[in-house]
Symmetry: C2
Subunit: 214 residues, 2 copies
């Protein structure tokens, strides 16, 4: 499959690298494609770097792996015409580091970045997921033993089913919890403060949430 990955940071490289490993053709969209030269050399010929618009146009499915506070601007560069009708897997968190650590959220409580993206691009099938864990764990959940959970939020049931299959069959997730429509992205984005505090306590990012039921 042809897949567009917006964002060339750790998340984009991790997702992009895994997709190439799975045999997909990946175009990473970034303002500075030259910065990906080393990474491209490592992952091999099925990956390329291009502008956000080229990456979005290339992808049958597009991953938003951009920095949350820059996501709306990055998606504008990607271009509505290159995204419309497609599934956008939104992994971003609206973390605002401008006041130092720990960051606050630039949007939360009665709105979320997932909803902002969905409102801005009504013809895009936004599915929020994978935004509640460390980058490495996203594509290799076995790094944490046993069963633990990843959440999906989105308005389009078929898109969520496709993303659930991607999470399970491609990335190896055993437990995917569908929280509901895109407004439920508030819930997972608002998990970030707990994640950051737990990271501070453990001094290690290799952990995840498991919902245990009685």
């Amino acid at each position: 499959m042809q897949i567009g990955v917006l964002g060339s940071g750790m998340v984009g490289q991790s997702i992009g690298g895994k997709l190439v490993e799975l045999g997909h053709a990946v175009k990473v969209g970034t303002r500075e494609p030259q910065k990906l030269a080393e990474w491209l050399g490592k992952v091999g010929g099925n990956a390329s770097a291009a502008s956000p618009a080229e990456a979005a146009a290339f992808g049958e499915i597009v991953f938003n792996c951009t920095n949350g506070v820059g996501s709306l601007e990055a998606l504008q560069m990607a271009g509505e015409e290159n995204l419309n009708g497609k599934i956008l897997i939104d992994i971003s968190n609206p973390l605002d580091f401008s006041q130092g650590f720990p960051p606050t959220l630039s949007v939360c409580n009665n709105d979320s970045l997932g909803e902002q993206i969905q409102r801005t691009y009504p013809a895009v099938k936004v599915v929020k997921t994978l935004n509640t864990m460390n980058t490495n764990l996203m594509v290799n959940p076995a790094l944490v033993p046993g069963e633990h959970d990843v959440f999906v939020s989105g308005n389009d049931a078929e898109a969520k089913a496709t993303v659930t299959n991607i999470l399970k069959d491609w990335f190896g997730w055993q437990s995917v919890i569908d929280l509901g429509d895109i407004t439920t992205a508030r819930a997972t984005e608002m998990l970030m403060p707990l994640w950051l505090r737990l990271y501070g306590v453990f001094q290690n990012a290799n952990f995840n949430y498991k919902i245990v039921r009685g």
Copy 2:
């Protein structure tokens, strides 16, 4: 031990009932003590109902089981002089139902109700805990099988150690995670949106979070 419980709702009754069962003397503080007549008949003679000020004065330790949006007012009625120097175990969440369901938080992101209480009562040892699960589970974690977590946040290490012992020895918690100072109450109060969505998905409140580590 003499324990004050502020709030006569489900949380206050659950905590108060368990404390009586454990052999403690409990005074529940409420504006409408007459409403507790039936409950008092059920739990027996070691419990009583009184004003918030009387309950706070009575308690060697005080539980805040009031509705989050009314907590600061309730604590004002309890009286600073009756709380100073004591441990206040704060179980409240600042849920604002004024715009319908799901509720939003009346404070979050760069502040929390736990911090507001600590700022308002600097000589009180506020420990935020038990605010991330269903009422029944608070005092009976075995309702959900296996190990799962409860968090504590607070500025006073000794107070947190005392509360951790209460959680373990009195209520039966196996895993207590100390997140840090009272600013970490933001993290657990901001878990409420996820809890509410999971409750919507499961149609059952008998679940909890387990942090699984690699």
